[in-house]
Symmetry: D4
Subunit: 171 residues, 8 copies
Amino acid sequence: VQEKISSARYDETSRLIHIEGHYQPKLDGLVGVLCAGTGDLPVAEEAVGTLEVMGAQVERIYDVGVAGLHRLLAFRSTLRRCNVLIVVAGMEGALPSVVAGLTDAPLIAVPTSVGYGASLGGVAALLTMLNSCANGVAVVNIDNGFGAAAFAAAILRNQNDIKEETTDTHG
Amino acid sequence: VQEKISSARYDETSRLIHIEGHYQPKLDGLVGVLCAGTGDLPVAEEAVGTLEVMGAQVERIYDVGVAGLHRLLAFRSTLRRCNVLIVVAGMEGALPSVVAGLTDAPLIAVPTSVGYGASLGGVAALLTMLNSCANGVAVVNIDNGFGAAAFAAAILRNQNDIKEETTDTHG
Amino acid sequence: VQEKISSARYDETSRLIHIEGHYQPKLDGLVGVLCAGTGDLPVAEEAVGTLEVMGAQVERIYDVGVAGLHRLLAFRSTLRRCNVLIVVAGMEGALPSVVAGLTDAPLIAVPTSVGYGASLGGVAALLTMLNSCANGVAVVNIDNGFGAAAFAAAILRNQNDIKEETTDTHG
Amino acid sequence: VQEKISSARYDETSRLIHIEGHYQPKLDGLVGVLCAGTGDLPVAEEAVGTLEVMGAQVERIYDVGVAGLHRLLAFRSTLRRCNVLIVVAGMEGALPSVVAGLTDAPLIAVPTSVGYGASLGGVAALLTMLNSCANGVAVVNIDNGFGAAAFAAAILRNQNDIKEETTDTHG
Amino acid sequence: VQEKISSARYDETSRLIHIEGHYQPKLDGLVGVLCAGTGDLPVAEEAVGTLEVMGAQVERIYDVGVAGLHRLLAFRSTLRRCNVLIVVAGMEGALPSVVAGLTDAPLIAVPTSVGYGASLGGVAALLTMLNSCANGVAVVNIDNGFGAAAFAAAILRNQNDIKEETTDTHG
Amino acid sequence: VQEKISSARYDETSRLIHIEGHYQPKLDGLVGVLCAGTGDLPVAEEAVGTLEVMGAQVERIYDVGVAGLHRLLAFRSTLRRCNVLIVVAGMEGALPSVVAGLTDAPLIAVPTSVGYGASLGGVAALLTMLNSCANGVAVVNIDNGFGAAAFAAAILRNQNDIKEETTDTHG
Amino acid sequence: VQEKISSARYDETSRLIHIEGHYQPKLDGLVGVLCAGTGDLPVAEEAVGTLEVMGAQVERIYDVGVAGLHRLLAFRSTLRRCNVLIVVAGMEGALPSVVAGLTDAPLIAVPTSVGYGASLGGVAALLTMLNSCANGVAVVNIDNGFGAAAFAAAILRNQNDIKEETTDTHG
Amino acid sequence: VQEKISSARYDETSRLIHIEGHYQPKLDGLVGVLCAGTGDLPVAEEAVGTLEVMGAQVERIYDVGVAGLHRLLAFRSTLRRCNVLIVVAGMEGALPSVVAGLTDAPLIAVPTSVGYGASLGGVAALLTMLNSCANGVAVVNIDNGFGAAAFAAAILRNQNDIKEETTDTHG
């Protein structure tokens, strides 16, 4: 591909092909993308790459598994600055519930197929997230970093529409 | 309950208890709540009731199953006015995919346990929604009208925060 | 194979081997074969190829996913001309329900294994189709384009039998 | 209900309410409805009742389980007179495969929730039918006698349309 | 292996290694091994090979699928001569129920992983057999031709023990 | 029932109705029926009652769970006298594997729905038994004491047939 | 029961019957029992009651769900004093992973059947706990508070054995 | 790896890399590691290797399947010397229940993915172990030899802490 389109750039972690210079105009608001293990990085980076193409500002918060809460808690103020959160987790998929308790922004949970045995190819993490006892959590398909990013962008795009209307009115 | 708290009002369809006069301040933006069959009404009304308590404006779009597209298509302009959509569906759960193709607002899909046989208590509808090929769809637990409403309110609340910030800046 | 039987022709999309000149006599009636994504094409073409060998007339209606209703609605009159419909869909498998609402011909739904994560190898699409709230929908096994075609041909063959009887009687 | 609508008649086995005098005009062709055990009778009768309301002629072939082939084989000529077959079976759900081998009419298989233990509420019978190695078999949801009847009626209705066209042309 | 043990013989269909000259003494009684499709042959031959090593007499009854009853019915007298039956079937796994209706010998059903889609790697056939409405059917694990043969041999061995005892007493 | 047929006797544990004086002629051979917990007793007694009606001699070996091996081991010589074994177990269903290691008689395993949580209504015990690493084990449906007894009787009946033939020849 | 054994006391939450004065001698070491929601209380209290009967010292740490981390973190020093932990959780079952990160004592996770929809009767929580990415977590059956307590007591009992041996040696 | 770190040693069975000379100080107490088939050896050796690195003393008890009880019973006194047991089993996973009946030490059950057909990749063994009717059994994820070892080490480490406290007090 890179030979055909000179501006194309392949990103190995997210397995996305970026085409420079074709990005939509900037969206207001900040999207935080969190993940715990290195196994979840490709899905998290797929979300980040998609968001950047769609013109969103992204804050990466990686290596924050629930078994080491202090690392997550250190990002508390960063979390509060985010207008939307995307939380990527495989294995037991517990991270979204914990993060949702630290913020009141809408949180999109992305289960990954990372795991073995009773992880059932991501179904365990998916069920965990659907059963989250925290408010403001919704879920997309296993490994669907793209879908989470598209949903987050839809939120920001709408926020900008409302903002423009209200800026018109109040401005 | 009604005897103890005079302002309490029990709603039979949504099975919610409303306490009048305790609502949060109004949120900007409109939430559309859609459902197809009458069996899905209690979950849809649970979402509506929760949204009203949280101060959101709600537009009900009921009786719009995918097997009768003309009824849904008649609401196209109403759909476009909504800033967030909650789509409640049991059985095959196909409504969210179809609605998501008619709007670019974030859409929260709520599977219900309505159905029999291979509906597996709502799991069929849940899987349909997780596999939606449309962009901007996220899913909550089966029959979780409350969770969908809480997520929609989180979106609106954040929009209002951004709006205020940007109104400050640009205003 | 092609070396042995000179009239054999291998079709790459459907993965079928056609042997020219061995077709049954023409059947009256038209079979519409629909699918949405390119991933579903091999199964759709397997159905088309099988139908052609069995002597049926086929109308292909491809690239008509539920997330872009206008493309499907453009085929409404073609749909109404079909005596039997075969609708092939992976992922969420919502297409048969929507199509069944636009026609009253018998509709054979074919789930495909196209998808990932919670598509569970086609089980999600299969469940969607079994739970279809639309009338006149029956389902065959995952990826079973051949079975759908055989069923459609059985319908046409019987129609021709009845026709002959009634032509005899009324003719 | 019976008190309100004088022509209403409740059928205990099928659990349907018939309203006399509102039937559609007669459809050409014969539908055979088969079932094995007495436990499957309500679903079979739901199909029969629905077909009669829709104007179809029905032939009941009951008590023909696969473990007693001679009873089924005695109906071979009746089976061949049918233009569509509806085969209702719970437990292992093997009847449709066996019947499909005795006829070339399109066969609609209806799994029922009759059974216990590993019948998993009808899922075992459903899987059996979806995996049928016989040609011309399609499946509807568990216990969905109505859906099978609606599908059979759609076949007959279309046959009548074709017949009329061809009668016009050839007649 | 064949180089080391000169009497070893590898059988391609059953994937068993036979060592000639090490067979146990002959068992009284006849075991019938049935299967329908060619895909099930390796499992059937695994059973046959194991039985022969254990000293049992075996009658192969192949290519007798339920969708072509006449082929099976032609073997009725052979079936009645068998003291134990092993019935191997994939896909919908209906063959054991039908065979059990034609004989009163104990019948060991062996589901195979032959199939696709909703066959779920043999689970569909397994469930069919567990739910068999016919008497005298027991089931072993998917593809477990060896286990079925070991069970059949245990039956014959016990029969021979009883026979010896009773021959002693009555002889 | 008891009022109508004076010889009828209802057994509370097995929930069977016995009609005295209608038993088939005695079968040679002994069937051992084992179970562990009191919860499994109804299924075990259903098997015992069915066997007695069919004319088989039965040895009850109850209260022999795998967690207390000494109780089971005390019955070793009784086990060896049995020509067929029926082993009934719920929960983890491990008893058949252990018993099969102590005897070479054919063993019919009956999973029961006794248990809670991850026993999944007997599916856990069913899977355990199907995966038994011991030789000579076959399985019937969950709670199917009747089916196990019918299978055991089929073994004995066949043994008696062979015996008669061989007694004729050698006697 | 209370009428027969005067020292019997029925506890409503745990649904256990305690018989005073029959307790085993005190075990060294402290068991922490944690749970989040009020729905999980019966299972937690079943564990507590069982532990007390077995002579263990128990510390209750209730109302510490993962969506409100501050409440859990307030118990950090208590957690560190415990020699064994029992963590009871329904819904998404994320609590054990989080707690295991705050201590290095062995942690027994107990999933409960509390939840709805995709909680699948406790299977979701069970899978979450089996997939825990934290070290030192083992799992018992759904709702099995008794089993968790028995396991914790086995740990303490063994600790006391070792202690006695080593006190003998070093003392 | 071996080229970089001279003290590294790769163990083929357990697929672990050992680095000599980095072991933690010795822990008091003995861990018994049991398994039945050779297929389970890699998981058992993963547990053994992990325990050795953590400074625990290990006793291997291999080739003790439930279908050959005498081999297991020969180790009874060895079993009683163990302070913690790790029992690794695939297929039907019955070994932990049997072992738990022979000892009162805490027992960690490790299901393995060894098996075929209805073993469902280890899920059958997992369910067996979760439903164990024996006391003092807890379960880790499929093939998780490391997790079982970490849990066993946590038990021993805690025992040592208590011992030290009590040695201080009583010594």
